[in-house]
């Protein structure tokens, strides 16, 4: 059996060149870094995980909330809040009328594909293609606010930025969307940034994590 590499697929993560040490599994028609010879203990300490190949989608417009509700997804009550669907998707409300839905690793984001195949409301609901425009990096572990404080001016400590919060701000001088959530009980900050700046932010986050013993982790370290 030949090993799976990012180059085996035409769909690749924006930071696949940074992941040469990883072993990969196939997820959603691309290579997902699964193992970097460290496990859940590293994820609990400080980990940086690339989930860019995992499906995600978005909708904008007056009827976007109704479209998500019809699809059985939870709609956060206010902008800059995130909800978790029963099936594990993250629903982000980025403004009154804009929503992103991030796929669940457990089903390889299959529900996003079915959501994208559902017909849109007749008016006032437009699809957003955040799959290709944004990279999806997830920080894990016990030091998330302290790590982000080195690159971001917004207070991301628990008192000001509780679970389910979203901050749209600037980190390392590029625009990011930061989401506070959990995967299998593991504290996570998901960082969505412009895909063209992904390699830059990847290095910045790794540098910021250095003093906390941070390392790149694979998706296998989450379970």
């Amino acid at each position: 059996m030949s090993a799976i590499t990012p180059e085996s697929f035409s769909k690749r993560s924006f930071v696949y060149r940074q992941l040469s040490a990883a072993s990969f599994t196939e997820v959603a028609g691309a290579a997902q870094a699964a193992d970097l010879k460290n496990g859940r203990n590293q994820a609990m300490q400080a980990g940086l995980l690339d989930l860019s190949v995992l499906p995600r989608t978005g909708f904008r417009g007056l009827n976007a909330a109704a479209h998500l509700q019809a699809a059985g997804l939870p709609v956060p009550a206010k902008p800059n809040q995130a909800s978790v669907a029963d099936s594990g998707e993250l629903v982000l409300r980025l403004s009154q009328k804009e929503f992103w839905v991030l796929g669940n690793l457990a089903d390889e984001g299959a529900r996003i594909d079915s959501l994208n195949q559902q017909p849109l409301p007749d008016s006032n609901c437009y699809p957003l293609y955040c799959q290709d425009s944004h990279a999806w990096l997830t920080l894990t572990g016990a030091h998330l606010p302290a790590i982000m404080a080195k690159v971001c001016g917004v207070d991301l400590r628990e008192e000001a930025f509780p679970l389910g919060s979203i901050a749209q701000t600037s980190a390392a001088r590029i625009n990011v969307v930061i989401v506070n959530h959990q995967i299998n009980g593991l504290p996570c900050f998901t960082v969505l940034c412009d895909s063209a700046a992904a390699e830059y932010l990847w290095e910045c986050l790794l540098d910021a994590m250095g003093e906390f013993g941070g390392e790149v982790i694979g998706s296998g370290a989450l379970s």
Binding site: P79, S95, V154, A167, Q168, T169, S170, V177
Partner: protein, 102 residues
């Protein structure tokens, strides 16, 4: 750093924002004169005192309106544009006019 209160995202560093010019009433592009349109598009009042301006929070792509004192640079109030713009502005196609021959 100077802090701007964004109506959507809360207080943020001013470096996250982009200035978008004065909020002013758009003349009817079909019936106004060229001079009125040029004044609307190109000229600003640049007054000393409290002005109403468009600002963009670049990280979230969110446009809002701020009242700012141009002498003290104090931000008095920021709010969602829906307070002023209650409905979508539609542009009707201009009826075809004869080309002016040279």
């Amino acid at each position: 750093m100077k802090i701007m209160p964004c109506p959507l995202n809360g207080p943020r560093n001013i470096s996250e924002f982009v200035h978008g010019g004065e909020v002013r009433e758009m003349p009817n592009p079909i019936s106004c004169t060229d001079r009125e349109w040029a004044e609307y598009v190109f000229y600003s009042d640049n007054q000393a005192g409290i002005v109403t301006e468009w600002w963009l929070h670049a990280a979230s792509g969110y446009w809002f309106i701020a009242e700012r004192h141009t002498v003290t640079d104090e931000i008095i109030r920021t709010y969602d544009p829906s307070e002023i713009f209650k409905e979508r502005v539609e542009f009707s196609a201009e009826p075809a006019t004869e080309e002016v021959s040279a």
